[in-house]
Amino acid sequence: MVKQLSVFLENSKGRLAHMTRILSDAGVDLLALSIADTTDFGILRAIVTDLDKAVEVLKAEAYTVAVSEVLAVMVPDKPGGLADVLRIMNDADIGVEYLYSFVRKPEESALILFKVDDIQRAMDAMQHNGLRMVEQEELLKI
């Protein structure tokens, strides 16, 4: 499993630019990201190269941040690849809160990040079905 950074953002001009600038000034790279937006706020979720550093510099700039755990699953890069993984989750009665994909691609797979309601059972289900998951340290090397 992989630790993910979440940041609260107001839906106003320049906020995202400001936040990403703080990260880049601290030398933190974004490996994957997605943004959930509602009418007045958004949540940025990202996998970063240095989580502790990212949390530290964002908090210092008064951002509200959270760290949560997600699964990074290697999904075969072919039609139906994602559908198969989701079917496995569904069969194991695991709820998927959201998912997004990793930017860089390892081998012939897509790397998809899943936020699920029961991470332990999801890991078991993936393993049981022969799907490979990537850990934090490994992500940095991709």
Partner: protein, 434 residues
């Protein structure tokens, strides 16, 4: 020692009211004769002192506002010649000229009596060592209590405010038993004690009298726990006298107003109509014994309610609740009175830190709309939209039931609501009044 002046503090209501009426009539006569401002206002209302026949007739008299006090700077409202004035105090007044008040020898005497009552209600007796860490000077806090301690016959340590290290040293070396200061300074002292390794057991401190700024029940518990004392709330304002207008008893359930010296009223701040016991509104005072600076129906702008139920302590004087806010912060939205403190009371349930919020009122079409902005906190945040929306709905419905009004709740980033020095700005009213 339970009371300082049992005769007056526990007087039968009927006797108390008889005294109040005598003193009210004397006060109205006094200001009519000696203060042109009050005489003119009464004449404009078609009133003469003879019209005050019962206590209820007080309601006929015009209000006095802070602006009236400012307009008469410095001595315009004094009711005695300067040769009779033995002391001057002045409010800190954040804008413009301060408000100046004066005292005759008899006024100082009455004030000392009332602060002595306060000290006893808070746990002091002749053997107490009272450290006064309120500022001395034009501010009424320091000297007001000082004279009460001397009246009581306890030992006063006139330390004044500031110099925390020395405060702690004297507290320890002199065996201070009662501390008087602002509640925020009490908490600061507690922190400094912890830093310098002084434990409550190392001190003889048992009691505290705290006031001069609004505080909460939560703050009281913190002070009591960390200093190992009983913390008593005191209320007063220089326009009316200074500290000692009212004091909590050991029941810690409201502050007894010394009704043999003051008549309190609660009014609706928007209409001026008198309110019943239990209804929250603006606190208004009329002084009954003051010579140099009497006040008639002075609007304090402090919001609270009055409780006339008998108190287990034996005192018969009515109790006022903790100050809930200031009437100048009140909003009227679709006919509903809204106070920022109501919003705050809801938000504290959802936060482990001091909630930061802002009320924005707009008029859209003909409808007034209230938006409440809340700064996102660590406790409210989640990486899932669903959870944030859930919390938002809950806060929204809590606010609706407390305010009796629908609100638009907006979550904003931390530190995005403007902080001002001292008093936080809690309200933006964008409605146009013409």
């Amino acid at each position: 020692m339970k009371y300082w002046n049992e005769t007056y503090e526990c007087m039968k209501r009927s006797d108390l009211e008889r005294i109040q009426l005598e003193r009210l009539q004397a006060t109205v006569n006094h200001v009519y004769k000696n203060v042109p401002f009050y005489r003119t206002k009464m004449q404009q209302a078609g009133l003469s002192p003879a019209d005050i026949r019962t206590l209820d007739d007080l309601e006929k008299l015009p209000f006095t506002t802070k602006q009236d006090l400012r307009d008469n700077y410095p001595f315009g409202l004094f009711a005695v010649p300067q040769s009779e004035v033995v002391r001057i105090h002045a409010s800190s007044g954040t804008t413009g000229k301060p408000i100046v008040v004066g005292y005759t020898k008899k006024d100082i005497d009455a004030w000392s009596e009332l602060t002595a009552r306060c000290l006893v209600a808070a746990g002091a007796d002749r053997n107490s060592v009272v450290q006064i860490s309120y500022g001395y000077g034009l501010f009424t806090g320091g000297l007001g209590l000082h004279y009460g301690v001397e009246r009581l016959g306890a030992t006063v340590v006139p330390m004044s405010a500031g110099n925390t290290k020395k405060q702690l040293m004297l507290m320890k070396d002199f065996g201070t038993t009662l501390l008087a200061c602002t509640p925020s300074y009490a908490l600061y002292l507690a922190e400094e004690m912890e830093h310098s390794g002084i434990r409550p057991e190392d001190l003889r401190l048992r009691y505290g009298i705290f006031g001069a700024e609004p505080w909460t029940e939560g703050m009281r518990r913190k002070i009591e726990e960390r200093l190992g004392i009983r913390a008593t709330d005191i209320y007063g304002l220089s326009e009316v006298m200074g500290p000692g207008v009212s004091i909590e008893c050991e029941q810690q359930d409201g502050l007894h107003i010394f009704e043999d010296h003051f008549i309190p009223e609660i009014i609706d701040p928007s209409t001026g109509a008198r309110q019943d016991y239990g209804t929250t509104g603006e606190l208004v005072f009329t002084s009954l014994t003051k010579e140099a600076f009497p006040v008639i129906r002075y609007r304090t702008r402090d919001l609270t309610n009055l409780n006339n139920k008998p108190c287990a302590c034996g005192r018969t004087h009515v109790r006022m609740n903790r100050i809930m806010g200031r009437s100048d912060d009140m909003l009227i939205i679709r006919g509903v009175n809204v106070f920022p403190t109501q919003v705050e009371s809801v938000l504290t349930r959802y936060s482990d830190v001091e909630p930061q919020y802002l009320l924005v009122v707009d008029r859209i079409g003909n409808l007034d709309v209230l938006e409440v902005q809340i700064e996102m906190s660590q406790k409210l945040f989640s990486d899932e939209v669903r959870r944030i929306e859930e919390v938002r709905r809950k806060i929204g419905s809590d606010l609706e039931s407390v305010l009796g009004l629908g609100v638009n709740l907006k979550l904003v980033e931390p530190k995005s609501i403007e902080r001002s020095q001292g008093k936080a700005k809690r309200v933006i009213d964008n409605r146009k009044y013409d």
